[in-house]
Symmetry: C2
Subunit: 553 residues, 2 copies
Amino acid sequence: MKTDIEIAQEATVLPITEIAEKAGLKPSEIEPYGYDKAKINLDKDVKRDHEGKLILVTSINPTPAGEGKSTVTVGLADALQAAGKKTMIALREPSLGPVMGMKGGATGGGYSQVVPMADINLHFTGDFHALTAAHDLLAAALDNSIYQGNPLHIDQRRVIWKRVLDINDRALRHTTIGLGGPTSGVPREDGFDITVASEMMAILTLSTDLMDLKRRVNNIVVAYDFDKQPVTVKDLGVAGAITVLLKDAIKPNLVQTLAHTPAVIHGGPFANIAQGTNSVLATRTALTLADYAVTEAGFGADLGGEKFMDIKVPKLGKEPDVVVVVATVRALKHHGGQALADLKQEDLSALEAGVANLQQNIKAMKRYGVPVVVAVNRFTDDTEAELAMVREAAEAVGAQAVTADVWAKGGAGATDLAELVVEKAAEKHGFSPLYEENDSAVEKMNKIVQNIYGGAGVELSDKAKKQLATFAEQGWDKLPIVMAKTQYSLSDDAKKLGAPKDFTIHVREFVPKLGAGFLVALTGNVLTMPGLPKHPAAMDIDIDEKGRITGLF
Amino acid sequence: MKTDIEIAQEATVLPITEIAEKAGLKPSEIEPYGYDKAKINLDKDVKRDHEGKLILVTSINPTPAGEGKSTVTVGLADALQAAGKKTMIALREPSLGPVMGMKGGATGGGYSQVVPMADINLHFTGDFHALTAAHDLLAAALDNSIYQGNPLHIDQRRVIWKRVLDINDRALRHTTIGLGGPTSGVPREDGFDITVASEMMAILTLSTDLMDLKRRVNNIVVAYDFDKQPVTVKDLGVAGAITVLLKDAIKPNLVQTLAHTPAVIHGGPFANIAQGTNSVLATRTALTLADYAVTEAGFGADLGGEKFMDIKVPKLGKEPDVVVVVATVRALKHHGGQALADLKQEDLSALEAGVANLQQNIKAMKRYGVPVVVAVNRFTDDTEAELAMVREAAEAVGAQAVTADVWAKGGAGATDLAELVVEKAAEKHGFSPLYEENDSAVEKMNKIVQNIYGGAGVELSDKAKKQLATFAEQGWDKLPIVMAKTQYSLSDDAKKLGAPKDFTIHVREFVPKLGAGFLVALTGNVLTMPGLPKHPAAMDIDIDEKGRITGLF
């Protein structure tokens, strides 16, 4: 069997100028990066009143068995294109850290990939590197302000702006900096996150233009002073420089699928501590240019799906016309208790327990009043009895389910899914927001836990309660909530698979993200800097004298 | 008076495809990055036996008064082009850290600039970001190896591979990492350098192709084990991944001057702890395509010039046909003792003392047997008497001097200089290497100090002596030497301006750079991570809704 990188390197990739033309872009609206990548710079003078249908692909809670959400997203878009629909994909950019670590890239798989696969998974057009530089320039300016007489009275024990690198590097999670004597700064505790966890990433992907980005950057709270008052980027005076560093990163990137469907790939915020979906500008670009804009949200519907609806939709000004929940029989059996080693065996009793996870994620998405369908990403070992059980479980909660076989067949494996999506997208539907702006933070979280996770409600630590009181004084208490929870369970306990009941979500601490415009509620330990495994993927990656890359996946 | 960025933003920039055609590149030999930048990918099947003349621009020891070396380099090239000579420039890429700090960019100035100025000074084509990622992936792999059972027996007190960021951030000079308990690594002392100080940068700019780069990366010594034996990248097994990360960064970048002279800008190693000049591939590209390849070396002739001759020329396989030493009357007066505040006043006695610095730098370059000329970068306050004194001083040591007025006039201000360069380049000359491979390290350094700096010789610390003994056991003792010395003085004392005599250079410590293939001799304190000043340049940089950038210089 060919590897993803082999399939990608053997593919016929059209010049990006051709893809741009197909997408309806003028030559002056793209800035090529090599022959197969481009930045999109939409001309505001071109009248485009068009708005396509928005298809959101999400999934059950992820398991080590794999769901193939990106692969289904790409396959579905290729199937829509093959059916004669003008289609564009809007996806997140992969982070380099996991590519070199364990997870691999995020460009789909098999015959449902976006290309150039290697470039997209490596530096792409430099967006993440620009974010790293912007984030770390801010950190340097902050420590420099402390060093140069500390005119803002920054309490170095209360700095909340860490540094970032787009590398999986656990040794940088907790550091001390400013050591080495009086000429090398002021010592304090610090740490590094991975770049995708930066608030800069959340800002970049929520901004509607460069001036909106600058306004948001100015609002970032980086520390507290000795009077416990917030210190912002505005106080440090470097928002202009940061905006200059992000002037190209804010432009969405154009690439293509193996079937030459135009794909916009832009931004990649975490789906736990941020909104977990590609940029507002990227999705808006796809909606403006295409009749079907197929996009994706990170992790399961409980995390990425909920944040898409509650955080992104208001900024985008458009709700999904269809939500596709991706599941695999294997993953559902694992949710129902079957061991990973046994997943090739039919196990209807495990599956019967596991489908509850799918059902809760369907119910979560249906809560918003939009049509929901299920895509069962097919594996060779799936039995007919198993597939039938999944279909029935989905239908029992009001979602039609079809199988897709996109890894091996590309768009041809998603014909039924595309047909169903087109049919559902034509249905009239409303949109019911889950919470109101004026709901208290606790009310908002309770609505998320009860309606989306299927749990009882939230419980706040003393620290979290105290924080909310302070936030009320600052006028921050009515901001939307981003729940930072394990992706593996609907609850905050990664080990509770399936669809746990009567659980409480424990909020340990809030992190105010005033630039992004939300409060992050931390439940349990959220890892914002991954580590490398014993045998990192980097050890298997190589390139030969002809430029052929191996080991990238 | 217009600022550099205003002049640059008002310029007519030709499409990079036109510049490429003018330079003699086939359309398939460039990869455009936007409309005004491209990567060059020379087709090995195209026969090009051509080799142009190599013009090296260097300078006196830099002072706070400024010399304008890059500006003269660009102006000279534009003048050569205007005279009908097929010309290309080969320059280093600027580092983002100083752009946001104090020094500003490195794209020339006034009407002698390379453009797009802002892009080149910011992320350009992402080369430095790729180097940062490659460097820090290696650091993460190293700490991960220690964490995952330490199979290589790395002594965490003897790790010599630090981390890098392309930001001026003094608080990262000395850090402790791996804190936070057993799941977050193994605690040890660490620190960050600026990206341009990375051995990866030295390697990228010395490599002749991607496989040569991989070979060099494998050779990097990152630490010592508990038996004090070197641990290399080969042992860690990540050279393939690092090479993949640098697959595009190794390709030279094509841009243009304001006068549309093609310019190759690529790589930017420090001129103290590395060779301080653009990549071998970039200079080779300019030599292959043009009749006159104008290039530059960092800091003064004693640092960048010497390293160009002793480190780069052997890899390039070509010596300079003319060396241009840039000086200003202001800077020479400062070398002779005139205070910075008084530099607008004529002061022939200060100048008489100061020209000794110019003379020593001329003698240093003449030592190699190549023609040397002096370009006096003219300022409005320079008097005729002062200019005459500089000319006479240069002629007294065998170098003709002409004035250039390139900031205000561009190439038109360097007509005399271009004529002189063409004349000298036609002269027959030899090339006498300063030292032989088989000279001992001490012999090599004595030759540098005596012939280039005009000093007495070197003195080694006990530690440095002990290191040389160890290096002899490892077989490293015959590597070329990179002297890491202050750029401000010919001696190792930054305060000794002019041309000090009878001084000794004190070598504190050696740093073996087995990937780059040289030993760095540290004299005094060499700062490899700059700090931000009280009022960083970043505070004045801004961008408006039309994309106009201000405050970049």
